[in-house]
């Protein structure tokens, strides 16, 4: 096989890694900052994908679909936080697992009622529909490059918000001492509702971006959820940097696994996780407890 083939695989791996990062970063933030284990996070990815499918169908335009879908996703996140998650901050993780598992079932049911069980596709917008030729018989879809570029911009934006803005300082402070943040006059409940909604919006956005390259189908949320948890565990819970490195590793391992060791592909990600945890039980960037 020629070099350009590996280049294509590498680009695919990076693009998949970026999408995983959008989902996993929210997951790891919710856990690290708010102490919440959110099994429903994959459902938000699915909701994003279905919103993209549905709204693109209605408006005839993916960009409009995303533009309309994002506020809906934010709203869903806000409502879920207010009416479900916010009751569980002080509770044991078991309650959170039970509640968010129930949310998965509810969202799956709603998805079937609203959109049925068919598999759907979303058309790539015309301006990004082409491919860049690499060699005579290898080319790379522009839309996939677009996904990576958007994710890079988002990752930079996220890191800027968390590291440089007062909102980011408050979020980090809230992760270490919630009561002190309140004593300084900051409404922690509102802060956490915002963080949760943003996490949900990120996951949904990942689903929207992915809709044109993957199909939109029932149960897609669970697949993403499981692999995102693998990413979070590899990277170390609560670490955004860890989520990024973990997502890239999983992107590489699953993409090249499929090509090089097809019969082993499905277990490669978990094998990687096992090896990393044996070496560093707290994950790559996690703090040892």
């Amino acid at each position: 096989m020629e070099l350009s083939f590996y280049l294509v695989q590498l680009l695919n791996a990076i693009q998949y890694g970026f999408l995983l990062f959008l989902v996993a970063s929210g997951l790891t933030l919710l856990f690290g900052i708010m102490g919440i284990i959110n099994l429903a996070h994959g459902s938000f990815y699915m909701i994003g994908a279905y919103l993209a499918y549905w709204l693109t169908d209605v408006t005839g335009n993916l960009w409009l679909g995303i533009l309309l879908g994002l506020p809906i996703a934010l709203l869903v996140g806000y409502l879920v936080e207010r009416f479900a998650i916010s009751f569980l901050y002080q509770r044991d993780h078991l309650y959170q697992v039970l509640l968010t598992f129930a949310l998965i079932l509810i969202f799956n049911e709603l998805q079937q009622i609203l959109w049925g069980t068919d598999v759907h596709g979303v058309a790539i917008p015309a301006i990004l529909a082409g491919s860049i030729p690499l060699t005579e018989n290898q080319s790379y879809p522009i839309y996939r490059l677009f996904i990576s570029a958007v994710c890079i911009a988002l990752a930079c934006g996220m890191s800027w918000v968390i590291q440089k803005t007062r909102l980011g300082m408050m979020i980090r402070a809230g992760a270490s001492n919630r009561e002190m943040v309140q004593s300084l006059g900051i409404n922690v409940n509102r802060l956490f509702a915002l963080v949760f909604s943003l996490g949900v919006a990120l996951a949904a956005f990942a689903g929207m971006l992915a809709a044109p390259v993957d199909s939109v189908y029932p149960g897609m949320g669970e697949n993403v959820l499981i692999i995102s948890f693998v990413v979070v565990v590899i990277g170390g819970t609560g670490s955004i940097k860890g989520a990024f490195v973990g997502a890239m590793l999983i992107g590489l391992v699953s993409t090249f696994g499929k090509v090089l060791l097809p019969e082993m592909a499905s277990v490669m990600a978990y094998a990687l996780m096992a090896v990393i945890l044996l070496w560093r039980p707290q994950g790559l960037f996690g703090r040892a407890r």
């Binding site: 007062r166 980090r172 402070a173 270490s176 009561e179 002190m180 004593s183 300084l184 006059g185 409404n187």
Partner: protein
């Protein structure tokens, strides 16, 4: 008759519990603008619990808390402190994962009437040591530096009332002196204060009024001159 100013903070008949243990047994107090109040008592007598009750961190089960005459009983802490109160807790509450600058900047806000007397520059002038450690993480500071940071952070909220819980505990004598001299400056600038401490000498010098609590009840209240003149009260309630 001169008109009485509205107290910044006024508590009536507070009863506070931790689960089934009844800690505060009907404490009432009030503090006027610009006044410095000391709160003394032996270990475990309920000083911290009283402060937490006033701030809504451990809401009282009975009794009322008013801020500037407005009923704040049962309100969440952020609502109460936003009326112009800043709290320096016993454990200092430094955010270990934030730098000194971030610890200060994240708390910045104008006072209740829009006052902006305190900002990063003024806090760093007041505590030059913090300026030297501006980019260090909160958990890489000495105890004294942490204490300065927590006081500086409280000032960043431009409070009318500063509440200090054991601000000098466990610090070296020189650092204690520095903290007290800053507290004196704060007092002179017209900010009211509630000071909880074991340093009787410093409190008598700074406070306009002193309250001693024992087993969740106020057992003494008086001016510094009066308390200084009655060593038997120290012996009975403070064990000094």
């Amino acid at each position: 008759m001169p008109q009485q100013p509205v107290p910044i903070l006024e508590a009536r008949q507070l009863h506070t519990y931790y689960g089934a243990s009844h800690i505060l047994h009907g404490i009432s107090l009030s503090i006027k603008p610009g006044e410095t109040l000391s709160l003394m008592g032996r270990n475990g007598m309920g000083k911290t619990t009283l402060l937490r009750s006033l701030l809504g961190l451990t809401p009282p089960r009975r009794g009322t808390v008013k801020v500037y005459g407005r009923d704040m009983t049962g309100a969440p802490p952020q609502k109460i402190v936003r009326q112009g109160i800043a709290f320096v807790p016993e454990d200092r509450g430094i955010f270990p994962n934030l730098t000194v600058r971030e610890n200060l900047v994240m708390a910045a806000r104008p006072g209740p009437n829009g006052r902006k007397d305190w900002d990063l520059t003024r806090v760093l002038e007041t505590f030059p040591r913090l300026a030297q450690r501006i980019n260090n993480m909160g958990n890489h500071l000495s105890g004294g530096e942490q204490q300065m940071l927590t006081v500086g952070r409280a000032l960043m909220t431009n409070p009318d009332l500063l509440i200090l819980d054991e601000a000098t505990e466990g610090l070296a004598p020189l650092i204690r002196k520095e903290i007290w001299s800053v507290v004196r400056k704060i007092k002179q600038s017209g900010i009211a204060a509630i000071l909880v401490d074991k340093d009787l000498k410093a409190l008598l010098e700074l406070a306009d009024r002193n309250i001693i609590i024992s087993k969740g009840r106020i057992v003494y209240e008086g001016s510094s001159e009066e308390l200084a003149a009655h060593p038997e009260i120290h012996a009975r309630h403070l064990g000094v």
